[in-house]
């Protein structure tokens, strides 16, 4: 009896270990709140970026994020034909100074930026960036959408997810801000987007969520500038290859039809005439 009870307990224990409470390497707080799936239009397979949104998003980047975050993989020339005219991009590039190649005396001078130059970083180097931000490095945003789980949903949730006050019981270390979406919930970046922070030239109301949406779509473009072309090409490839697939199925059927519809009949030899009898018949013929 006692043995049976022990067996039941052990089986229950085993079942609990296998099917029971999940075991996490991290607590949910360390993992961060999973972002909401937002109904993005530009991530659909048949939709391009909304380039008016990219233009607004770039404005948000320049006016808000650029004071802390670099965007070092984006040269001015890529803006042309995506969200700016040539003249606008040139004017923007000329606002910044870049080093020249060494002249005859080996001196490096300054020249205004050109279309081929890359968007300048706010800090000289990572150490300077850390020093200015309480020891936290504002990461480069060029590939940020690709670099975080959840991509656009995560960054949108992060930017719009700062509560007025941390919830009761949450511990927020000094110098950090509470954001449930950030793994660990304590993030060195404070809330940066507030209603009406920028003024859009196209008259779109600059609400927090509008700015977040625009800047996130812009960051998606900076991480995947080829997406529009890639999607279009993808559809063309699918169109052509599906015709080819149809054709090859037809050819296969055409070639196999006579083989598949062939009737194979097997006529077994007549059994039952013993060999001795055959020999007798042969002998009779011979006579």
């Amino acid at each position: 009896m006692a043995l049976m009870a022990a067996g039941v307990v052990m089986a229950a224990g085993g079942a609990f270990l296998i099917f029971g409470r999940d075991v996490h390497a991290m607590t949910p707080a360390e993992e961060g709140l999973h972002p909401t799936q937002f109904p993005w239009e530009h991530t659909k397979w048949h939709k391009t970026y909304d380039h008016a949104s990219l233009r607004r998003g770039f404005q948000v980047y320049r006016e808000v994020c650029a004071s802390c975050h670099s965007l070092s993989r984006i040269p001015y020339r890529t803006l042309v034909g995506n969200m700016m005219t040539v003249d606008e991009a040139k004017a923007l590039a000329e606002e910044n100074e870049y080093d020249t190649d060494p002249n005859d005396e080996g001196e490096i001078e300054k020249r205004p930026g050109k279309l081929s130059d890359y968007i300048p970083s706010p800090y000289k180097n990572d150490e300077a960036a850390r020093a200015a931000n309480n020891g936290a490095l504002p990461p480069d945003l060029s590939l940020m959408v690709k670099a975080r789980h959840g991509g656009v949903n995560y960054i949108f949730s992060l930017l719009t997810g700062y509560p007025e006050e941390p919830p009761a019981g949450a511990t927020v270390p000094d110098g950090l801000n509470f954001n449930p979406y950030f793994p660990g919930t304590g993030i060195a970046m404070a809330r940066v987007l507030f209603d009406g922070l920028v003024e859009y030239e196209d008259g779109t109301p600059a609400t927090t969520s509008q700015m977040a949406k625009d800047v996130v779509e812009f960051l998606n473009w900076s991480a995947e500038p080829e997406a529009d072309e890639r999607k279009k090409m993808g559809w063309k490839v699918i169109a052509v290859t599906s015709v080819l697939l149809g054709l090859s199925i037809w050819v296969k059927k055409y070639k196999w039809a006579p083989i598949k519809s062939r009737k194979i009949v097997y006529n077994p030899p007549v059994v039952g005439t013993p060999v001795s009898k055959l020999k007798q018949m042969e002998n009779q013929k011979a006579k």
Binding site: A52, G81, M83, M84, D87, W235
Partner: protein
């Protein structure tokens, strides 16, 4: 077997090759144009070419 189509396009190797190249060229043009028209229709108002007039015109005024 000697249909006019066969005689004209496939009988001689040179004619066959010409047919292939000309069809290829024509098909590609038609396919590319067609898919661009469709794509632009699906994405009406979203692409830079749809909105750039706003910013081009503004420059002319200045």
């Amino acid at each position: 077997m000697a249909s006019p189509i066969y005689n004209l396009f496939f009988r001689k190797n040179t004619a066959m090759l010409t047919t292939v190249f000309v069809t290829m060229f024509g098909f590609q043009m038609a396919f590319d144009t067609g898919s661009t028209v469709l794509w632009d229709k699906i994405n009406q108002g979203r692409q830079w070419k749809d909105i750039k007039s706003r910013y081009m015109e503004k420059e002319d005024e200045e």
